[in-house]
């Protein structure tokens, strides 16, 4: 470490700044992007024609179209004026429930952290069990080779 009295936290900030500079975003080549977009378009077109086929079959059976976007647009046009009153009432409820929400969020964060820890713990356990299996297996192979060499 420095003996010149430089604050270690300054050194860390310098390193972190260097890292951010070094890790500025990198774009792929234009050729790659174009090729990727072409593949995505082709894939979407295939999926779209499959949906179109489903829609025409559904229409033949008297069923409404199923495109998400269209459903959202139709819903928006149907909204009546009472919605404003309802939304005001909902806002009041949200304000009243703010404390419960924060508590629930905290609980959720703890729960998700516990979930991550379980997954990590099982991963580590599995890794070490595999280590044991590999050692046993390699010892078995070595013994088999030794026997066959006799």
């Amino acid at each position: 470490m420095s003996s010149s009295g430089v604050n270690p936290s300054d050194i860390d900030m310098d390193l972190e700044a260097q890292l951010r500079d070094a890790l500025r975003p990198v774009a792929p080549s234009d050729a790659f992007t174009q090729a990727l977009l072409a593949k995505l378009s082709a894939r979407s077109a295939r999926a779209s024609s499959a949906r179109e086929s489903h829609r025409s079959q559904a229409a033949g059976r008297g069923l409404p179209p199923t495109r998400d976007g269209e459903r959202v647009v139709r819903l928006a046009r149907r909204v009546p004026g009472w919605w404003l009153t309802a939304s005001l009432a909902a806002s009041l409820l949200v304000a009243v429930g703010a404390v419960q929400h924060l508590r629930a969020e905290h609980e959720r964060a703890r729960g998700l952290e516990a979930r991550r820890e379980v997954i990590e713990a099982l991963r580590v356990t599995n890794q070490k069990l595999d280590l044991a299996y590999r050692v046993v297996r390699s010892q078995s192979s070595a013994m088999a080779e030794g026997d066959s060499g006799v």
Binding site: I11, D12, P28, L36, L37, K39, R43, V72, I119
Partner: protein, 180 residues
Amino acid sequence: MDEQLLRARRGEPAALETLVRAHQRTVYGLALRMLGTRDLAEDLTQEVFMEMNDHLTSIQSSGHLAFWLRRVTTNRAIDQLRRRARIDVTTLDEESPLFGAVDEADPLLQRRLSLLLAELAPAARAVMLLRYQEDLDPAEIARTLDMPANTVKSHLKRSLDYLRLRLEEGGDARRGDHST
């Protein structure tokens, strides 16, 4: 619901292109810096965006999309790295340095940082990239990598310590305050 996302779900090419162009630097950058070569990075980038296309209906917002892309990219890269030996640092493509436009003020330091980051274990490297390329805080990194927050912090601390030590060993000329 984000308009671009809605239109992309409907398969509109222009919307898909907007999403790809908005996020490709993140995905490609993470892939390249995790895997070390342009070919592997392009393969992974394509794989991730293809999968994104297949899962658009389950993505709820642009924020969710960004999270999803980071998560899938880093997890796939970690899986790949764990399946093969450590990347051979000497085979890195010198024409496309891992770390984007090199700062003319200190190209040597930046190259050195790039090589040193490649020495980190996959999980630690992913944590560092999410922190310093994507500017995520430790809690967000923990969510992205499905990793306990304490492990994230441990990776950050240890990786910075490692980089600092290796830079000092290398006799970084800029760090004139470190007299040996």
